[in-house]
């Protein structure tokens, strides 16, 4: 390594206003370890009294170099790393990755696997929104909502554990289908969740939606216009709260989303309260999709039978020479992919989660790039917080639903 370069405060001078240099305004460091930054986010604030003049986010504390690491792993080995990106949307990450690999090698997924993928990603969406709802309410000092939200999230994590054996880092979805079929209890457990959850959403709403304290803290706070939101690359509920009807599940249906009847909730205000309403309604719609997917869950295989890319079932290995060879090849050298580059995106709870995959023909990806939604959503924070109070800044950071693992990758 070459020698270290010296960096001083001078480097940040151009980011703060003239008044900060003369000492009229205060520079305050918030984070990286601060309960309201939802992870490890450092915000350098320039304050005039309680008012935020400038907000300079400093990210990278959770950078793990996943993109670099994936270049050194085969396509199968890289699967487990996807869970570590956005740790509230683990099923969605591996879905995005699997779909990218499937697009690259042109692999078909059986219908049963598609439906189970839909059920799990929508449940994960609910779980992610529940964590968001709990913590965002906590940021505006509504303590009890947090406890109720985590109670229901626990039920979803139990479902994920039932399927995959893991509560969060599931790696249940694989390129070409699923790791295995869901257990027989799956349907009963999901149905019991479907039965109680609508009432629970009403409960959260009764705690917050008309609560005058909550309204005071969110109405008109952190407003962003539709044009600004698009120019800052915002996606997901934060963009839909500004009135832009953009949901990849509707616009570019994948996993057969076109067969399901659901609505994309939008609001036009673009403030914290609108983002809250959009997400709450999204939970209802996600549940609606789960019900439909469960009602018409087809029977059949859950893995593609293309053994060049998907490991053959265990039962075949003992009786079929080809299966044994495929199994051996897949777990020793991985599979070769055609030369090319693709970009594939899914709608994560936070927005467009895209994977850029480039292959040079070998068993390892030449380049993997993750387009993570929080990275762009967080970028609009300085714009949204300008002129607000420090206490509101906390509420705004909460309302855009960032996951720092997703920002830093």
């Amino acid at each position: 390594m070459t020698q270290l370069q010296e960096v001083s405060v001078e480097e940040l001078k151009h980011l703060v206003s003239e008044r900060a240099i003369q000492g009229e305004t205060v520079l305050l460091n918030m984070g990286p370890q601060h309960p309201s930054t939802h992870g490890v986010l450092r915000l350098l604030l320039e304050l005039d009294g309680e008012t935020v003049i400038n907000c300079i986010p400093d990210i990278g504390f959770l950078h793990t170099g996943i993109e670099k690491n994936m270049e050194a792993k085969t396509y199968q080995q890289a699967e487990v790393m996807t869970d570590r990106l956005d740790y509230l949307n683990t099923v969605g990450n591996i879905l995005a990755y699997s779909m990218a690999v499937e697009k690259l090698v042109d692999l078909d997924v059986p219908p049963r696997a598609q439906s189970i993928r839909v059920i799990l990603t929508e449940l994960q969406r609910i779980a992610s929104h529940l964590v968001w709802l709990g913590t965002a309410a906590l940021d505006v000092a509504a303590m009890s909502t947090f406890l109720y939200c985590f109670r229901e999230r626990e039920m979803i994590l139990d479902i994920l554990e039932l399927c995959s054996g893991q509560r969060m880092m599931t790696t249940f979805i694989r390129p070409g289908g699923l790791w295995r079929d869901v257990p027989v209890e799956f349907e009963t457990v999901v149905r019991s969740f479907i039965k109680i959850f609508p009432k629970r959403i009403d409960q959260y709403e009764s705690l917050l939606t008309r609560n005058p304290l909550f309204l005071d803290r969110t109405l008109g706070i952190g407003r962003i216009s539709a044009a600004d939101a698009q120019n800052y690359g915002m996606t997901g509920p934060s963009l839909r709260a500004t009135g832009v009807d953009w949901d990849l599940r509707k616009a570019r249906p994948y996993l057969g989303y076109e067969q399901y009847d659901f609505e994309v909730p939008t609001r036009t205000e673009g403030d914290s309260y609108a983002r809250y309403l959009v997400r709450v309604e999204e939970m209802r719609q996600a549940l609606h999709i789960v019900v439909q997917a469960l009602n018409r869950l087809p029977l059949g295989p859950v893995r593609s039978d293309n053994c060049k890319y998907v490991p053959p079932p265990r039962s075949e290995i003992g009786v079929s020479m080809e299966a044994l060879i495929h199994h051996f090849k897949l777990w020793t050298e991985g599979f070769d992919t055609p030369k090319g580059a693709i970009y594939s995106a899914v709608e994560s709870p936070r927005g467009e989660l895209g994977v850029y995959l480039e292959s040079d023909g070998g068993p390892k990806p030449y380049r993997v790039h993750w387009r993570t939604p929080s990275f762009d959503n967080l970028q609009a924070l300085p714009l949204m917080t300008k002129g607000h109070l420090v206490a509101d800044l906390v509420a705004i950071v909460g309302s855009i639903d960032i996951v720092l693992g997703d920002v830093d990758r």
Binding site: M1, T2, Q3, L4, Q5, E6, V7, E11, H14, L15, I59, G60, H63, G65, E67, K68, N69, E71, A72, K103, L104, D106, D228, Q230, N231, Y232, G233, T235, V244, W246, A251, R252, G340, A341, I342, Y343, A345, E352, G354, Y356, E358, Y366, R367, H369, R371, F375, D376, Q379, A380, D408, R409
Partner: protein
């Protein structure tokens, strides 16, 4: 390819002397570095690609000219279209004009590219490292940057490795 994309492609190909290619339905255009700022301006207005979904780089080291391909992934919400720009950049003092004044979210994306690949963006308002520590040396996502496994220190090579380690010494 989407029918709506064809007139857009023809226009861009004519104006910027670009070449188009398609792979599994993803359309990409190769554009030279001198045209990229003008092309991005066109993409936003009048072509109506509101979102710059992502920007990234592929490093083709040890190839030197061009060593990098800078990728711009655009999305049009109103027309429901996607288009990728690929900009070849040389390996010796790589640099490109910034597009952060056109698409605001390119500000961080370009900082990330500077951090990870060391490609300079001319006219960028705040080109600092973003993900790596500010005093980091090197650009990690380049292909000639090793994927750092730490070398074990034994008695025979202790001093040699100690010299190279970047921690505080007495």
């Amino acid at each position: 390819m989407d029918k709506k994309l064809e007139p857009i492609l023809q226009k861009l190909q004519k104006d910027f002397d670009a070449t188009a290619s398609e792979y599994r339905g993803d359309v990409s255009l190769v554009i030279t570095p001198e045209h990229i700022a003008a092309a991005c301006k066109q993409m936003l207005e009048p072509l109506g690609f509101e979102l710059l979904s992502t920007m990234t780089v592929v490093d083709y080291w040890p190839e030197e000219n061009p060593r990098f391909h800078v990728l711009y992934q655009f999305t049009s919400i109103s027309k429901n279209l996607s288009l990728t720009f690929r900009v070849p950049v040389t390996g010796v003092t790589p640099s490109l004009p910034t597009i952060s004044t056109i698409y605001r979210n390119a500000t961080w994306r370009e900082r990330e590219i500077w951090d990870m690949f060391g490609i300079k963006f001319e006219g960028h308002p705040d080109l600092r490292r973003i993900l790596m520590p500010h005093d980091w040396a090197g650009h990690p996502l380049r292909k000639d940057y090793p994927l750092g496994y730490e070398e074990p220190q034994f008695t025979f090579n202790y001093k040699e490795i100690d010299l190279r380690k970047p921690y505080a010494k007495e």
